[in-house]
């Protein structure tokens, strides 16, 4: 396996983590303020929004770490092992968690769209849950294929 491509992907994984960290630090407090403006009678919405977004950052970083681990396995030529199946399974669960958490804040996007009369905002709100759902299903398919490959390989090892 060529090391260059996995090295590039490893760097990409790290680079993707940085803007999300910036969003967590700078954007989430703003969103909390916005939510209190939208729902003035419900002050604790601020904390709820912050909790949802910070909570979804945890599975995100865990998934990035698992992807990094997966790349390391590919480097070590142990891509077809139970270890990678486990990493893919973790990525799948992380993506499902993120998707569910972001569906929770979808009503807020609806309120915002209602107030601003901009129906497109709803679609913006649906991007994250939809994208993470796609990633979850993709990881599931890869997991199944990986299992199949492991079976083929173990069959090979047995005959030899």
């Amino acid at each position: 396996m060529k090391q260059v491509s996995t090295l590039f992907l490893k760097i990409a994984v790290i680079l993707i983590g940085i803007p999300v960290l910036a969003l967590c630090i700078f954007l989430v407090p703003e969103l909390g303020k916005l939510a209190t403006k939208l729902l003035p009678g419900f002050a604790s919405i601020k904390y709820l929004v912050s909790i949802v977004f910070y909570a979804s950052a945890i599975p995100f970083y865990f998934a990035l770490y698992q992807a990094f681990k997966l790349l390391r396995y590919i480097d070590k030529n142990i891509a077809f092992s139970e270890l990678s199946v486990k990493a893919l399974k973790n990525i799948k669960y992380c993506a499902i968690t993120i998707s569910c958490l972001h569906v929770l804040v979808l009503p807020l996007f609806y309120l915002f769209a209602e107030k601003d009369d901009a129906p497109g905002v709803i679609f913006v709100g649906m991007v994250v849950p939809f994208a993470s759902m796609v990633i979850a299903v993709f990881a599931a398919v890869l997991q199944k294929l990986l299992k199949e490959a492991i079976d083929i390989k173990s069959e090979n090892d047995l005959t030899v």
Partner: protein, 162 residues
């Protein structure tokens, strides 16, 4: 192989294709004509711009079609064959072509706007972001291709023994 998973991914591919097709058909001509009205001095670029945009979207659609084919192979339990290797190779080439197109686009924007004093930071950074994303996809597909090749080799070895 779970049918619903590949079915879902197929649906996503069709959805993405339709959205991009819609953009190509409805939004791009609008943008071109509006820009031609706003800047009459560069109005002659209206149709070259459209042509370039459609040329640009062709490898994208080819890649989507190949991804769809790949899902069909997975459905038929044909994932570890030369066919899917070929599909992956085409996807990789399409992505590299898109990267080259974006690079050409950035260069032409820089040349065209030289001396006009227009702010092109936004469009350039968008171009770099797209380049970054497509190079990630190209590399990822390259890694997948190598992994699939390993399995295909093992499988053919198996078949020989049996």
């Amino acid at each position: 192989m779970n049918r619903w998973a590949t079915f879902f991914l197929k649906g996503v591919i069709i959805l993405i294709g339709m959205v991009v097709l819609g953009l190509c058909i409805f939004l791009l001509p609008e943008i071109a004509s509006r820009d031609a009205e706003a800047h009459p001095e560069t109005a002659y670029l209206q149709y070259p711009f459209l042509l370039a945009a459609y040329l640009f979207s062709t490898p994208f659609f080819i890649a989507l079609y190949q991804a769809f084919k790949l899902l069909v192979y997975i459905d038929k339990n044909n994932a570890f064959t030369e066919l899917s290797l070929r599909a992956l190779k085409v996807i990789k080439r399409c992505t590299i072509t898109i990267i080259a197109f974006i690079g050409a686009g950035i260069i032409s924007v820089v040349i065209l706007s030289a001396g006009t004093g227009e702010d092109i930071t936004g469009i350039i950074s968008l171009g770099f972001m797209l380049t970054f994303a497509s190079s990630i996809i190209a590399t990822f597909v390259g890694v997948l291709q190598k992994l699939v090749k390993v399995v295909v080799d093992i499988k053919s070895e198996n078949d020989l023994i049996v």
